[in-house]
Structure formats: C-alpha cells, structure tokens
Symmetry: C2
Subunit: 369 residues, 2 copies
C-alpha cells in the first residue's frame, strides 16, 4: 500500500497568491487529470468529474472538489476499480439487477439510470438495483439525469453506518440519502435530495471546530442520550430525521431502513451495520444502490403543468418571516447555479484550494488556474 | 341532504351496561351492516370493513371503528359512490392509471394493489396511480396486501391540507402518508406506515382536551410561529417531519411533496391546496393515490433472509433505556395484534362503544354484542 495521500501532500507548500474563483471547465479539467493520473480510464474519470462539479455548482461543496481526494485514494490503493464497467446480472422489461464490479459510484449510477430510463421509455417504469458500487456523490445527480429525458427520477444509496435506530445506543444505518427529481414547465424542476438523518455529520463537525454546542435532537452520545456537545455527538451517533422519539424520529429511522431495503437488501450487497466504516479502505465497499425512472406520460396528461402549479403555489405562499421566502426542493441549488453563472466561476474556500494544489503536486498534474 | 348523523345520534341514549371488548368478527359484522344499511353493496362494504378492522386490530384506533361514521356519512350523502367499481384508464405491462369513480378508498386501493401485484408477477414491478378515490384508511393495509404475495408493497395517498411547507404560515399539503411493507423470514415483516408530518392532528387534539401544552416543533400558530399551545396549533398548521428548519423540517416538507407527486400530480386528481378540507363533504374528494408492488425474486436471491437479518440486528441492539427495546417498523402493531388474539377481542374506549351504539340505532342495524 502506498503512503497515504495526506502524508505526501504535507511535503508541498502552496503559494500564497492562489485565487479562490475558478471556471467550472477548469475545475472539471483538474478533476479529470487527478483521476486519470491514478490510472482511471477517461470515460470513468469523466463520469466522476461530472458529478463532483455538479455538486460544487449546486452549492454542495462537501460532495464536490472536497471529496475528490477520497476517490483518488480509493482508486490509487486499488480498493475501488477505476476501470470497472458494470454488467447486468439479470433483467426484465422493467427491472434490472446490476453488478458494479467495484467500479466508481458515478460509473455505476449513470449506467443504472440510463438503463432505467430505457426501460421506462418502453414500459413506463424502470427499477434498477446495483451492488458492487462505491460512493456516488450527490444522490440528486442520478434523479436529475432522468428528468433530462422528461422523466421522474429516483436514486437511493446506502452508506457507512452513522445513524442510530430510535432507542439504540449505536449506529446501524448510514445517512442513506434518497432523491426524487420531477420535471416542471419551462425547465423548472423539483429536486429533493436528502439524507434520512437530521443533519450530516459535517454540520456537527463544523460546530465542534467552533467549540459551539449543537441543537438537541441532532445526535446522541455513546450512552444513547441526546447531547448538545458536538464532540460527544461526533463520537456517538447521528439521529434519524425527526430526532427524538417524541418528535417521531422513528419515522426517519423507518425511512433509513426503506433506503437500505431498496439498496443493500434488494441488491445483495452490503447492508446496514455490515457496510464498511466511513473513510476506511480495508475492503471493498460493495455498496447497494437503487435507481428509478418513471415516464409520466404513462399516467395522466399534463404532469409538468400540475408540477409547476404546485411548486408555484408553495413559492407564492406568505412566509412567516418576510426575509425567508417559501421554497420548493431544489430552489437553493438553482440559486447557487445561477450565482456561478453570473460570477463566471465557482468560489471555493482558500483552504480547499490550497489542498487541491497540494494534491495536484502529489499526483503530478497541473493545479487549477 | 339528510340531517347530519351527529344530530340524529343525539336522539338516542345508550344503555349503561355496555361492554368494551368485542370479538373481531362481531366488529366486522357491525361495520358491514352499517355500510350496507346506507346502500353500499356487500363487496364494497367488505373491502372497507376489512381495512377498518385491521386498523383497530393493529392498535390504530383513530383509523378503525372511529372513522366508520365518516364513510357512512359520505356514502349516505352521496358524496362518495359506495357502489362504484374502479376502471383502468390506461396501462402498460408494468404501470396503470386507474379511475376510482369516486368509490370507497379501500375498493380503489385493493383494486390497484391487486393490479400492481399482477404486473409485478410478470415484470418484477407494478406501479399504479389512481384518481377519483376517497379516504382509504391505513396506508399500510395496501402495502401488506402485496407482502401476502411475497412482494414488497408501497402505498401513498394525498389528504386534506393540514401541513405547512417550511417557512409558510398556512397549510398547503396533507399529512400525506407513505407505507412500505417488505417480507422477512417465517412470516416476519417490515411495515413502515407513516404520515410525513411530525404528529397527526389527533395527538394535538388530545393535548388540547387535557389543556396541556404540546412540545415545540409539532405545530405552528396562525402567524407561522412554532407554538406550544395546543389550541393555537389546532387553528394553525402541522409541521412537516423534522419540525423547524434548524432540524431539517424541509426534508419532511419534501417528503410530503414526494407523496403528492406520486398521488395527485401523477394521477390528475386533486392535489395540495386543492384537496377539499378535512371532514367537509361539499364536493367529491377526488383523492390521488399510488400503489406499488415489487417482486424481490427479480433482484438478488435471499431477500427475506437479509430482511430478517437486518431487522434482527436492530431488535437485538442495546437500548439507551433498558425498558424500551429497539424495534423494527411494524413491531408495535404486531404486539397489539397478538394482544387482541390473546384476549380474544378488541378493547375499545367506552365512549367509542356508546357512539357506535347510537350510530347503530340511527341506521337501524344491530349494535355490537
């Protein structure tokens, strides 16, 4: 096993004059270069770069450039097969079971969505489960890929255990995100992309760094008690959506199970507590994922009109606080995408840029310019 | 329009010596008699009685005998067509759009699940959306109907607007429940049946009657502010699962939209704020519903083994509080069902029994004995 990227990166000192705003094309070029530098074939590297760039463009910086090093490391260590191509294990006109052969998550994900869309064009629905996959970035990407074909898209993935079932002391489920995208009129769309826990572990980490308390209901400590101490929450477990039992946190626990059923249980991959620990690379992830496409024209005509009407109604509602308008799922991401366009680039935190510069040096690729 | 049932019921005074425990068969007989007394044909009345009895047997008393009067009233007033038979508007090998023709919800629901199961046997999945439906009782009923065939079942329905989108002052969505049932080994099963809001309106009503405060995060007042006053919460709106924005209540709002998309938006029925008000009978409900069946044998072999293994892992986890074991979705309902069997009957609140006695008198049917 080669020495870890983190150690190698520390040998390099980034220049002081690095800028923080970069053209999306340049970020994409850099991501592609990093992945090919560790031996990923170009088509597979491209699939990953597309998803990571989309995350940053939509304002989900935790899942973009910030995650690149994890994928680089996985491929470099051989724990993820950068060159793998998924295959269909079995299929019907409307369903498929896919083996990702330990390939990059976005390679598996795109393959599965495209297959689901193809089936939905024929029969109205395509439901595809995959095993042998890896982290696939933002769940919404795969759902949105279906809306480009005028369809509803759904995507689910299991993840490393971080969330405690209601009443339990320890984690048994991942943050298990689910996504649903649906097309509205004139390019408008609904994009729900949510983890089934209250907050991502990153939000608790941020508060811990600030040495600030976290709201009660986000996490439990090692004894299974709700905690407002961020450090205790980090060493405990996340709470499912809803939080404590009094606030129906068992519904979030049930939703986490729902995602796991569609992913690990249906695909035969790893599931629940068996999924490897977060950021560990001791064995293949063998994640389970699920991708669905539904053609609304197989149902009542006028789907897009009704979709836009409902979203419009919500957006036009009187807000409790004038400064905070009512939104539809996907609106904050649309706003951030527009911002990137207006400003002509994505603005990163300087620490991210320094880190990416160091990674470029380790891999011998051109830093972002 | 005949005088309301409530007024007619007040003319009768129930005897003092009513018992509270009744054999399930007798409850079923009474439900059937009430529905046929208002002109519902027996097959349709049977579909309703089955669902209502299942709710009481599983311990969801709000959705059983307690709701019978609503269905009786709807059929009696002619706002729901007790004799309607659903028809297929269009279909593919894996999908269907159904028109419930304003029939009883359980009639529409059973029709759609059975259709979905039939399609899933052929192609691995059946996805059926219905419009022209009415209240269908517990969502889990339809999901469980698919598990009897060894399949995963899902069910969704829109409902009258009671839940406020995150940041909004007023309600725009219903409590929009979703259900997923999945078969485990040896008759074990996973049954998630949840509204996409924090708590049902009934829970707030109970606290108001007791003149007790409600936990912050359940409801908002008329100004859109979180309230701990039950009466204010009743006249305001329910909060989506997660509660306030800080605790990711927008995820619950997104899930409520997801249910609405699968129901009213896909089926072409009423949706969101257009659904008629709760308990109003001024016009047809035209609810949208969605039913899904998935045959796990079209995916990886061994589904039931993995399902039971995951549920078993969760149930065996060390609880934070020794007196509160970790459960899997459906466990509380299984416990209540066993209790009914052991005790040889369902035990109701005396007020429910008195009320049912009065309804029997109004309709000229034999009260439960």
């Amino acid at each position: 096993m080669p020495s870890t990227l983190a150690q190698e990166k520390d040998k390099f000192t980034p220049p002081e004059n690095l800028t923080t705003k970069y053209a999306p094309e340049e970020v994409h070029r850099y991501m592609l270069d990093c992945m090919t530098a560790v031996g990923t074939p170009k088509p597979q590297a491209l699939a990953l770069a597309d998803v990571l760039l989309a995350a940053d463009t939509r304002g989900h910086f935790s899942h973009g450039l910030n995650r690149l090093e994890m994928y680089v490391n996985d491929v470099r260590q051989g724990v993820c097969a950068g060159d793998a191509v998924p295959t269909i294990t079995k299929e019907s006109v409307s369903t498929a079971l896919v083996n990702g052969h330990n390939g990059l998550g976005p390679v598996v994900g795109n393959f599965c969505v495209d297959l689901a869309v193809k089936k939905a064009k024929e029969t109205g629905i395509g439901w595809v489960c995959a095993r042998g996959s890896n982290h696939y970035g933002i769940a919404g990407w795969y759902a949105m890929r279906a809306t480009k074909e005028g369809m509803l898209g759904m995507s689910f993935t299991n993840t490393s255990p971080l969330v405690a079932p209601t009443r339990a002391k320890k984690a048994a489920l991942g943050t298990n995100p689910l996504a649903l995208a649906a097309p509205g009129k004139n390019g408008d769309d609904f994009v729900l992309d949510m983890a089934t826990c209250v907050v991502a572990v990153g939000k608790i980490e941020v508060e811990r760094r600030k040495e600030k308390p976290i709201p009660e209901g986000w996490a439990i400590d090692k004894e299974g008690q709700p905690t407002t101490n961020a450090a205790e929450g980090m060493s405990g477990a996340l709470m499912p959506l809803g939080g404590p039992e009094l606030h129906s946190g068992y519904k979030g626990y049930g939703l986490g199970m729902l995602v796991e059923i569609f992913c690990g249980i249906m695909s035969g991959g790893q599931y629940g507590p068996n999924v490897r620990r977060w950021m560990q690379t001791d064995r293949e992830a063998d994640l389970g994922q699920c991708f669905v496409a539904i053609d609304p024209t197989f149902f009542a005509p006028g789907f897009e009109d009704r979709m836009s009407d409902l979203m419009g109604h919500c957006r036009d509602m009187e807000p409790a606080d004038e400064s905070k308008p009512v939104l539809a799922a996907g609106d904050p991401e649309r706003t951030h995408t527009d911002k990137v366009k207006t400003e002509g680039g994505i603005t990163y935190h300087i620490n991210q840029i320094k880190d990416s510069w160091k990674l470029a040096k380790v891999l011998g690729v051109k830093p972002m310019e």
